[in-house]
Each structure stands twice: as structure tokens, then as C-alpha cells.
């Protein structure tokens, strides 16, 4: 049997891409949750091990990843609310795009200060004067 042909991507509209993003963020957060429960479980082992692990979190790279995590959760949460609105509000399907644009706007509005606060420490330690 010949191989399936190399086709092109389906160029779906925003509805499709928001779903892709929702799924990707959901899976990411799920794996993080696994890791997070594991590391937190270390508090049962000994405070030192826990502190050691948590200390490794306090470097700039992990700090950036952390911003990513918050972004992922935030997007997933907002989009989840949009999906719920589509599910239960009669006119939801008709305004799904508008809701998505609103969601993205809100996402940006929330993410900017959040990222600022989260990264402030890193900035300060890396380049900071304080």
C-alpha cells in the first residue's frame, strides 16, 4: 500500500486554532500538574530536599517557564469560559469569534502586569541595582 499523501494543512478559521491552543495548553498544564504534585510531595520527605528543589526554581530560565505556565493556564481558563458560554448561551455559537477576540484582549491585559510582577525579581537580580 502506498503511503498517505503529504497534503497541506487545513486552513481552518480562528475557531479551530483556538481549539488547538486549548488542547495544547490543557495537556501542558496537565503534565506540569504531575510534576508539581511530585515536587510538592517532597515536603513529606524533608524540608531540605524541598527547599533545594524549590531553590532551583528561582533562576531566570525557570522563571520564564513559569510565566509560560501562567500564560497557558490563563489562556486555557479564559478559553474554557468561552467554550462554556458557547455551550450554554443560546447565541454563543454566533458570537464565538467576538468572544475569542475579547478573550485574547483580556488575556493580554492580564498577562502584561502578571508577567511584570513575576519577572521583576529576575530583572532585579540580573540587571538590577536594588
Amino acid at each position: 500500500m502506498p503511503k498517505a499523501p503529504a497534503g497541506t494543512l487545513y486552513r481552518g478559521h480562528v475557531g479551530m486554532w483556538s481549539w488547538v491552543a486549548h488542547r495544547v495548553t490543557g495537556v501542558l498544564v496537565f503534565f506540569f500538574l504531575f510534576a508539581h504534585v511530585m515536587d510538592t510531595a517532597l515536603v513529606r520527605v524533608s524540608p531540605d530536599t524541598y527547599d533545594k528543589i524549590v531553590d532551583t526554581y528561582k533562576n531566570p530560565v525557570v522563571n520564564l517557564l513559569e510565566v509560560g505556565l501562567v500564560a497557558a493556564v490563563l489562556f486555557h481558563a479564559l478559553n474554557g469560559l468561552r467554550i462554556i458560554a458557547i455551550d450554554f448561551w443560546r447565541k454563543g455559537t454566533r458570537y464565538q469569534r467576538q468572544m475569542l477576540y475579547a478573550e485574547v484582549t483580556l488575556f493580554v491585559i492580564l498577562m502584561v502586569p502578571a508577567a511584570f510582577f513575576m519577572l521583576r525579581h529576575t530583572f532585579l537580580t540580573l540587571f538590577g541595582t536594588a
Partner: protein
């Protein structure tokens, strides 16, 4: 009608994926319905729980920078935070597991693969739930 394409010894493009059997009306349960509703309900609760959690832990007051054993010990001495975290743990894990179940249903083509992936998923979910619950309830601020 089955058309016997093979008779001609010339190829046809392979099906885009293995044909799957639709289970038919076998399962007259409401499982999918309840799990669908659960995704929405837990989602709404998680907005408060998870976003609140992230806000407190990662954003406010220097975020992760102030995390240490002592901080955790302080938090879990309060039943409020214990409940919060327990709820969050269970809802998020069940929500995520159920979400991943869907993802596996979508992409794992062979029944065998599907079964294995789901076993793995449920085992890990069980592990996380048991471990997490244990930690929150049996946490002993004085081991240090």
C-alpha cells in the same frame, strides 16, 4: 455494496486512518454526558481555584522567590488552604485526566495503543491523587 477494488491489483490510497467500529447503541449510559458536564463545572471552579492559586503563589509578593518549606508549612496549618488545595488537586487532576482521555481517544488509532495509554493515564492520575491527598492531610510542619 462492497466494491472489490483489490481485484484490479492497482493501488488505492490507504485510508487516512484505520477504520474504527462505531460501538452502536451498546452503551446506554450517560457517562459521556456526565463527564462533559463535569468538565464545565470543574472548569468554572478551577478558574477561581487555579487562578487564585497562581496569583498568590506566582505573581504576588515576589512569587516563587519567597517559597520555601516554611511558607508551605504556614499555609497548610490553615484548614482553609488545606481545603482549597485539596479541591484544586482533585478537580484539576480529574479534569485533566478526563481531558487527556479525550485526546487519547482522538489520536491513538489502534485499540491496543489506546488501552495502554489509558492505563498509563489512569495509573498516573491515581498516583497523583493519592500522593497529593496524603501530602496535604498528613503534612507535618514539624519534621524539619
Amino acid at each position: 455494496m462492497a466494491t472489490a477494488l483489490e481485484d484490479f491489483g492497482s493501488p488505492a490510497i490507504e485510508s487516512p486512518r484505520a477504520r474504527r467500529q462505531r460501538p452502536g447503541q451498546r452503551s446506554r449510559t450517560n457517562f459521556e454526558l456526565y463527564s462533559w458536564i463535569f468538565m464545565r463545572l470543574s472548569g468554572v471552579l478551577l478558574v477561581v481555584l487555579v487562578l487564585g492559586h497562581l496569583l498568590i503563589m506566582n505573581v504576588m509578593d515576589g512569587g516563587v522567590q519567597r517559597l520555601n518549606f516554611g511558607f508551605v508549612a504556614g499555609r497548610w496549618s490553615s484548614p482553609f488552604w488545606q481545603t482549597w488545595d485539596l479541591l484544586q488537586l482533585w478537580l484539576a487532576e480529574l479534569h485533566g485526566t478526563n481531558g487527556l482521555r479525550t485526546v487519547i481517544n482522538d489520536y491513538a488509532e489502534r485499540d491496543g495503543t489506546r488501552l495502554w495509554l489509558k492505563m498509563l493515564l489512569y495509573t498516573s492520575a491515581g498516583l497523583v491523587l493519592v500522593l497529593g491527598t496524603l501530602v496535604i492531610f498528613t503534612f507535618d510542619p514539624n519534621i524539619g
